[in-house]
């Protein structure tokens, strides 16, 4: 990363991943490196249902959040916006949909 910008969640995390949770849901996890990283992503001022809804074009009421300090993980689940393997589905396993979340930069909401 260049010196003139702040790191993204993808750069701060051990891993950011997404996957189907059955055919009708998508789930994502931010695996942070330590309690400090966890505190960044668990901060509702930075990351909440509204932010995820904006990133993925959803109704915030459909977004489920799980904050798990024991694992330094924040997990997000929401109904799949596009039916799995339908004509408009470009990601059958929903395995590349973590990228917009991983591109978020803490401190610049």
């Amino acid at each position: 990363m260049s010196a003139d910008r702040r790191p993204t969640l993808g750069e701060l995390a051990l891993e950011v991943r997404s996957k189907n949770a059955g055919p009708f849901w998508v789930t994502m996890e931010l695996f942070m490196r330590d309690a400090e990283g966890y505190a960044l992503v668990a901060d509702e001022e930075f990351l909440d249902e509204e932010v995820v809804a904006r990133l993925y074009g959803l109704d915030p009421a459909d977004v489920l959040f799980f904050r798990i300090p024991e694992l330094n993980v924040v997990k997000v689940s929401f109904p799949r916006p596009v039916a799995q393997a339908s004509l408009r589905d470009r990601d059958v396993h929903a395995g590349q949909h973590h990228v917009p979340l991983a591109a978020l930069v803490p401190g610049s909401r």
Partner: protein, 462 residues
């Protein structure tokens, strides 16, 4: 292999891999047997690769890959005298999937000269029977689905019910050495024998969830299988690859994998609750888990999965390297859609929804489209055209009309016709029927095994 009057102190489960046909080292099974496995359990299917496999009743895995894994597992079952349980046979868990795996098993038993008895459990459902359940108010939607109608049930090419542990336990109780189950929860396949031997439900279902993806719960997800020991107070888990480890984090984190809610998981008979569970390292490779609870449900429910044909698809694929077109790629794609729609109307007299297209710009924004956080001109772009129509001929006719455009369409400002790079010839590939999942519902049942047909081996009886 009948149940004992007094529960044993513990039940040991060998899970060689996350999916039958996925491959595992032979040492995985040898090590599991050396550790005293009481049962071998492996999952044979999933919805994760899409509705095609259920809808068409065909397997994602090749017969050769399934046979390779089965040969090692059948030998191990016979050598150790322990049962082998396989769930969701043939990917979708249809009756055809069970029979497909059973045919492979029969061939291997004959080749290997093994005398193992094989039970089949069928989980496919008749739409008319389910319509009766629907009319009786016994079918309920799971979020985010809405209510169901009879026409949706009747439109499915295949419907399966997802069995819990009970039908598998019944087959084991009846003396089957090998149980080939249709659609089952990933966990039921693993939980059946420990439950039958009197192990507590909380640790049993939690252990089953942790090991259902094989090495995924270890520090090396590509390593061979895992080994779980369930007892009255909890369970212990270790990888079968001596070089891999289970850590409290790797084990706890597996509750996150492919789950909506990491703290609870609904099974047909009740709900596993793991919020209070503790994960403790016994040494560098083994983790002890305690405090998992299973809350029996007031109403036993069976989840339904169903797929139907949504249409027929034809695909065409070309590619662009010309920097001028790439600088204007979004405009070029818009022009292609516009010209294609006009030509389809002109030649076939069709307008959407009589056909539908999806134009995907791989290298530009194909995967995330408007959600993509990145911008900037790509170096090259693969142009995939997918056409869906009610019949294959129409889908292919539309794709063929698109062919000259995917070869020669210029941008609006170009004074000449470029020639773009088709990836192969002929450009059009007929993809056949395109399926969609339409059920995400549960049906109330009084008897956990009522929706499933158990075919016991000849001569087997209690």
């Amino acid at each position: 292999m009948t149940s004992t009057a007094h529960p044993p102190d513990e039940v040991r489960i060998l899970v060689p891999s996350g999916m039958l046909g996925g491959g595992f080292p032979a040492e995985t099974v040898e090590r599991g047997l050396a550790l005293g496995a009481d049962v071998i359990a492996v999952d044979g299917g999933s919805t994760d690769s899409g509705p095609h496999y259920l809808g068409s009743a065909t397997a994602k895995t090749s017969a050769a890959a399934v046979a390779r894994d089965l040969r090692l597992l059948l030998r191990a079952s016979a050598t150790a005298g322990i049962p082998l349980v396989i769930g969701s046979c043939g990917t979708g868990g249809t009756d055809a999937g069970v029979d497909w795996v059973a045919g492979i098993v029969d061939g291997l038993l004959a080749e290997e000269g093994l005398a193992l008895s094989v039970a089949r459990i069928y989980s496919e459902q008749d739409a008319a029977d389910l319509v009766a359940e629907l009319d009786a108010g016994r079918i309920h939607p799971l979020p985010p689905q809405g209510p169901l109608d009879a026409a949706t049930l009747e439109s499915c090419t295949h419907i399966v019910g997802m069995m819990g542990a009970e039908p598998i336990m019944a087959a084991l109780e009846a003396g089957a050495d090998v149980v080939l189950a249709g659609r089952a929860t990933d966990t039921a396949v693993i939980a059946a024998l420990p439950l039958m031997r009197g192990m507590p439900a909380g640790p049993t279902w939690h252990a089953a969830k942790i090991v259902e993806c094989g090495g995924q719960c270890t520090t090396d997800p590509r390593s061979g299988g895992v080994f779980a020991t369930v007892d009255a107070g909890g369970f212990t888990i270790e990888p079968l690859d001596p070089a891999a480890s289970c850590t409290p984090t790797s084990v706890a984190a597996h509750m996150l994998y492919e789950t909506v809610d990491p703290f609870q998981m609904r099974e047909p008979a009740g709900t596993l609750q793991v919020r209070e569970a503790t994960y403790r390292a016994l040494d560098e490779r083994r983790v002890r888990v305690e405090g998992s609870r299973f809350e029996p449900a007031d109403q036993h429910t069976i989840k339904l999965e169903g797929a139907r044909i949504a249409g027929y698809a034809t695909m065409s694929f070309s590619a662009i390297r010309d920097p001028h077109i790439l600088e204007n790629i979004a405009d070029w794609a818009a022009l292609l859609k516009q010209v294609l729609a006009a030509r389809v109307r002109q030649t076939l007299d069709l307008v959407p929804p009589a056909y539908e297209i999806d134009l995907r710009l791989y290298g530009h924004d194909a995967i995330l489209e408007a959600l993509d956080p990145a911008t900037g001109p790509p170096r090259e772009v693969g142009v995939m055209l997918l056409v869906h129509a009610p019949d294959q001929a129409t889908a292919t006719a539309v794709a063929k009309i698109a062919n000259p455009l995917m070869l020669h369409l210029p941008t609006r400002d170009m004074a000449y016709l470029p020639s773009l790079a088709f990836a192969y010839s002929p450009a059009e590939t007929e993809r056949g029927a395109s399926y969609e999942f339409v059920l995400h519902h549960v049906v109330d049942v009084d008897d956990p095994s009522a929706l499933f047909r158990i075919r016991l081996p000849e001569g087997a009886s209690r």
